[in-house]
């Protein structure tokens, strides 16, 4: 995978792959059930919600921003979809579009506050995080919404490849990653995102519409969070107002593990997919080994530090 023009020393880009490979090899030695097709496709399913959120988060972090509201906005989207489809009785496609519409609006709100009012993304999304959470709790009265129509949960259904059950949602996640990878690598809009993150003043001076790029990134992320909320509903079969609370930091963790720099302008979106897979593999593997979930948290923390250190060291070696 290494020919990214933004890393000419491969270590920074290869690191996450090696970590994932290492983890898989380790767990394969610890349990003979780990490396089965069924288990691996299961992990792919388990990470699909955070995985899609992480695409949006990657785009934002590439512009040297950050989005702390992603998980909460996703939860709001899933509540809107579920309620509209059940209580308001709207047809499923309309309910889905409404949910994605709401999450996109939040993305737009974040983007406008960052570009027009010029507030730092950290502060803005800290605020919208709370607003989204409160709206979700109020609108759902803190109750889970059940008995959802089948159309809403369709992406959770699976098809068989050999003895592996692959969920349609996982396929969608991988497709979205491929799309993001293509746009970021091959189109002007994608390269401009890197440029804005690397040197926003420079992009302004050469005539790139910097504010439009930033706004676009936050709106795109909003759409992605909406898709993630559909995947969340599909996977669990309910609209859960308490979902998304750990996904906020999980998505950022995945992006960092994948080698994208929090300072913007550097990183590969596929790295974030590796990042979510690393976390998913550890959770699955440690459960198979019977090890307490606390160790999973410990491992994640250690990996994050290693990931950031590896990226810094590889770049220092470039000079």
């Amino acid at each position: 995978m290494a020919k990214s023009p933004t890393h000419h020393i491969p270590w920074g880009a290869l690191g996450p792959w090696l970590a994932l490979l290492g983890a898989c090899i380790f767990f394969a030695t610890q349990s003979d059930r780990f490396l089965t097709g069924g288990n691996l496709s299961l992990i792919l399913q388990q990470v699909m919600v955070v995985g899609v959120i992480a695409i949006g988060q990657t785009l934002i972090i590439l512009t040297a921003g950050i989005d702390l509201s992603c998980g909460m906005v996703m939860a709001l989207g899933s509540i809107i979809m579920s309620k509209f489809a059940t209580e308001l009785g709207l047809p499923v496609p309309v309910a889905i579009l409404c949910g994605i519409g709401v999450t996109t609006l939040f993305g737009l709100l974040n983007g406008l506050l960052v570009t027009r009012i010029k507030l730092p993304p950290f502060i803005v999304t800290l605020g919208t995080l709370n607003i989204a959470f409160a709206i979700t709790q109020l609108y759902s009265s803190s109750q889970t919404i059940t008995d959802l129509p089948a159309g809403l949960t369709g992406l959770g259904t699976t098809f068989a490849i050999g003895n592996a059950e692959v969920a349609w949602g996982s396929v969608l996640m991988v497709a979205l990653y491929a799309l993001a990878w293509f746009v970021l690598r091959e189109t002007g809009a994608g390269r401009h995102i890197y440029a804005v993150g690397n040197n926003a003043e420079a992009t302004r001076l050469v005539g790139i519409p910097t504010q439009r790029v930033l706004l676009g990134v936050y709106v795109a992320a909003g759409v992605l969070y909406g898709i993630a909320s559909l995947l969340s509903v599909a996977r669990t079969g309910v609209g859960d107002p308490n979902a998304g609370q750990t996904e906020n930091l999980d998505a950022i963790t995945a992006v960092v593990l994948g080698g994208t720099s929090l300072f913007g302008g550097r990183g590969v979106v596929l790295g974030s997919l590796i990042g979510v897979l690393i976390v998913g593999v550890f959770r699955n593997g440690l459960t198979l080994m019977g090890v307490s979930s606390i160790y999973q948290v410990l491992v994640t923390g250690v990996l994050v530090i290693l990931a950031v250190a590896a990226d810094q060291l590889s770049r220092r070696g470039a000079r």
């Binding site: 002007g188 690397n198 420079a202 001076l205 005539g207």
Partner: protein, 265 residues
């Protein structure tokens, strides 16, 4: 100096005025840039040289006065307008994205798209073409960087400056403006950049050069525009005046009419 009987005037400004509150940065300043020359703009702090440059490059809009490009009046509302008119600026902080490659930086904001469906619908960039063109431009200007796929941050200060200059030279149609291009460079790298500036001029693009570095100015400029108190104090011929006299005009210790006729240009 290029000796031309009736030098063609590429860019001209008459009576530019710019006020910031109570401060008058430009007090009716005139400006003239001729074809095929390197015009250095010097002046003490507060003399109005950066305000003049900002007006010429579209970064600010003057309150009064006019700017003419090839004899026709122009009104720049922003730097993009100036760029579209064929005026390129090399800023002091270079305006490059360090993590991106040389060829990406060269075409930043002006990327080439692939022909046909891939370019118009999928909006894919033609990386190979940009690579080849970058290589050609750099070789044209005799910049000795081997690979266009290196990240700009791996280059030395002088090489980065060359990339920024090459970018402007590649896209400029009328004028290249350079703001302190040799500041913060060592002797060898500074000379490398001066060589490059000469080559840009020799290829037919007039250059406006803002600099504090007197030796560099005297080495490379064809004429020197001295800014003082928001006006143009004099335009001097570096071949017929000493550095110390030039500095004296700049600080006001000497006035323009105290100089012999041949010192003016």
């Amino acid at each position: 100096m290029n000796v031309v009987a009736n030098p063609k005037i590429v860019m001209q400004a008459k009576g530019l005025v710019k006020r910031y509150g109570h401060v008058t940065a430009l007090d009716g300043v005139d400006f003239e840039l001729r074809e095929g020359e390197i015009l250095a703009v010097i002046g003490d702090n507060g003399a109005g040289k950066s305000s003049l440059i900002k007006a010429l490059s579209g970064a600010t809009i003057p309150d009064e006065g006019e700017i003419l490009l090839d004899g026709a009046p122009v009104h720049f509302r922003n730097p993009l307008d100036a760029r579209r008119a064929g005026i390129e600026t090399v800023y002091q902080d270079l305006a490059v994205a360090p993590a991106m490659t040389i060829y990406e930086n060269l075409f930043l904001g002006r990327e080439l798209r692939r022909p046909g469906f891939l370019g118009s619908v999928l909006r894919m960039l033609d990386k190979k073409k940009m690579l080849v063109e970058s290589m050609a431009r750099m070789q044209d200007l005799k910049v000795g960087i081997q690979s266009m796929t290196q990240a700009v941050e791996t280059l030395s200060g002088g090489q980065r400056q060359c990339v920024a200059v090459a970018r402007s030279a590649a896209f400029a149609r009328h004028v290249v403006i350079m703001d302190e291009p040799t500041a913060a460079l060592g002797v060898k790298e500074g000379n490398m950049v001066l060589e490059l500036i000469r080559r840009v001029r020799d290829r037919g693009l007039p250059v406006v050069l803002i600099s504090h570095n007197m030796p560099h100015v005297f080495e490379v400029a064809d004429r020197i525009h001295v800014a003082r108190l928001g006006k143009r104090a004099a335009v001097l011929n570096p071949k017929k005046i000493s550095m110390s006299d030039t500095v004296a005009v700049m600080t006001g210790a000497m006035t323009a009419d105290q100089l012999p006729a041949e010192a003016h240009a």
